[in-house]
Assembly symmetry: C2
């Protein structure tokens, strides 16, 4: 982590602490098992990127009210609900360095606690009194579920295009971050111009964030990442590093790449070989450059907004997306 980012994080320490409290206070289930399951996944080192972006987006638009932390939990609950359902879908085993919730509490509880969190999202969103926020949340959840389904039916598709990959990550990841930034602006009663600027920032940050995530699945290690390395490939999930490399591979390497990709039980040696091929055919470099492109687009999107500490923090978070190790 650069010093720049460390200093920035110190500036949002109070915001992050406020978000933690709000996440706990707004859960309000009547059953203890619901709290336990939701806590298991939610209080295990999440970065709180989404609620933090909503809080900063509201502040950059001059919001001075008391409800920003409360409303910000919407975006962490949505994210958590999606993780609970996805871990079941993906048959993942580890998340944030801990066994996934469904392996401890069972698939049924994981599904239903996810549903409960979606319901809480709706309750809290209705407290904003803004129908536009309700509509935004509806759009986000429609996109997320369809993005996940799209990803699911794309599994193992060796000729997946970059375009289709972009469509999936926009829906499953980027619209939520876009929505967090947009909602911050709406809560602050910002002008349409500012709302669009912040939504554009969020969308691009979201795309870059997912690309960085997909890169980490090849270049991080399990201990740092808190989940299995190579998990995407094991699930047959083709992400940009692989898509790009496959498009540029020489015929003599294609067969080997495809063999490793379509083998659910590839060895560590196979995985190492594949990573070499991703390097050779610029899959990693290209993904990094596309992520950088969207980081720049995010920064450009908020350029018209005047300077402030909140803006500096948004710029810093944009940098963080590319430098993070987990």
């Amino acid at each position: 982590m650069t010093d720049f980012i460390k200093d920035g994080l110190a500036l949002v320490e109070d915001d992050l602490a406020g978000i933690e409290i709000a996440l706990e206070q707004n859960l309000t289930p009547y059953l203890e098992v619901v709290r336990k399951t939701a806590r298991h996944i939610m209080f295990s080192g999440g970065k709180r990127l989404r609620p933090l972006l909503m809080v900063l987006s509201a502040r950059i638009c001059g919001y001075k009210g008391d409800y920003d932390k409360t409303f910000s939990v919407i975006f962490e609950y949505l994210h958590t609900a999606s993780l609970l359902h996805d871990d079941l879908v993906d048959e993942a085993t580890v998340r944030r360095g801990k066994p996934v919730a469904n392996s401890i509490y069972g698939n049924s509880i994981a599904v239903l606690v996810g549903d409960f969190l979606l319901a809480r999202v709706l309750s809290i969103a209705s407290r904003t009194g803004r129908m536009r926020i309700i509509k935004a949340i509806a759009e986000i959840t429609e996109n997320m579920s369809q993005g996940e389904i799209h990803q699911l039916i794309n599994k193992g598709k060796l000729d997946l295009s970059e375009e289709e990959y972009m469509e999936v990550i926009r829906r499953k990841t980027a619209v939520l971050i876009e929505g967090a930034c947009r909602t911050g602006a709406i809560i602050a009663g910002a002008s349409e111009k500012k709302e669009k600027a912040l939504a554009g920032y969020g969308l691009n940050i979201g795309l870059a964030f997912q690309m960085a995530d997909d890169l980490l699945d090849y270049i991080s290690d399990t201990k740092v990442l808190g989940k299995e390395i190579g998990a995407d490939l094991k699930e047959g999930k083709l992400t940009l590093p692989v898509i790009h490399a496959l498009q540029n591979t020489e015929p003599q390497d294609r067969a080997l790449m495809e063999k490793i990709i379509t083998n659910d039980n590839f060895s560590n040696q196979d995985f190492k070989k594949l990573k070499d091929l991703l390097k050779t055919y610029k899959g990693l470099d290209y993904t990094r450059s596309r992520a950088k492109f969207h980081i720049k687009a995010a920064i450009d999107s908020i350029a018209p907004i005047g300077n402030s500490q909140s803006k500096d923090l948004l710029l810093m978070l944009a940098e963080y997306v590319l430098t993070r190790k987990m």
Copy 2:
């Protein structure tokens, strides 16, 4: 089916046809698999009780607009989403005479299409422009998910009280039907008094409906019911017929009852024996009398509302709840 009910159904034929069209038109997924999965469960002989109740509740309050059918799908989509997630939770195999969706399309798709339907609910609800409806929907979904979880953790609990059973069925079933009736009143701009009367009707119909459902699991047969008979017991789900019989059983029969209840693989002969014991210890009679009590409470709740054809239909539907065979 009595002639009274047959004549009544003829009167709502147009409404039911309108509801079918709205259910199809408001789905609008961009992926074909979503439509296929949702259709699989939704267009397989559902009774459309919930949307019909919303439409009739709006009409009884003088609603003359064009959007009642559109808004009514909210309650069928919520119901369908819950079925998709519950079939997975319950490990059911048959629903409405067809294999459950998750056995054909996989658990992942079933979970995610359920999420998509919840998102559609939110989108359509936001088009009402009424924050009170959004709040009602939020409350319903919170109750439904917690009711299902409560039922799940109650599984196999031999000392389950009638009170706890009532709490579960209120949350998992009755609040949705209550919400359908209440929403009809809100859409029509009804007085608070009428809204309360219709909500009271819906809540009590919902309780009676679930009790009747729990009875059918013991007295119907698989072919008519479209799902396995005795499924509740196989899943360890103790419903009112069993709860009441257990509370009143003589010591010499208790051990046998408990043995059958706690055995996941009970034989047909065991099941027959258990049904005899439910008769002996008035489990079936008592459940029927409690259902009748709530039917009466439902009818009483709308007594202050003036007579009309819509009111006659609500009274008829109240009777139908107890006489239905599936």
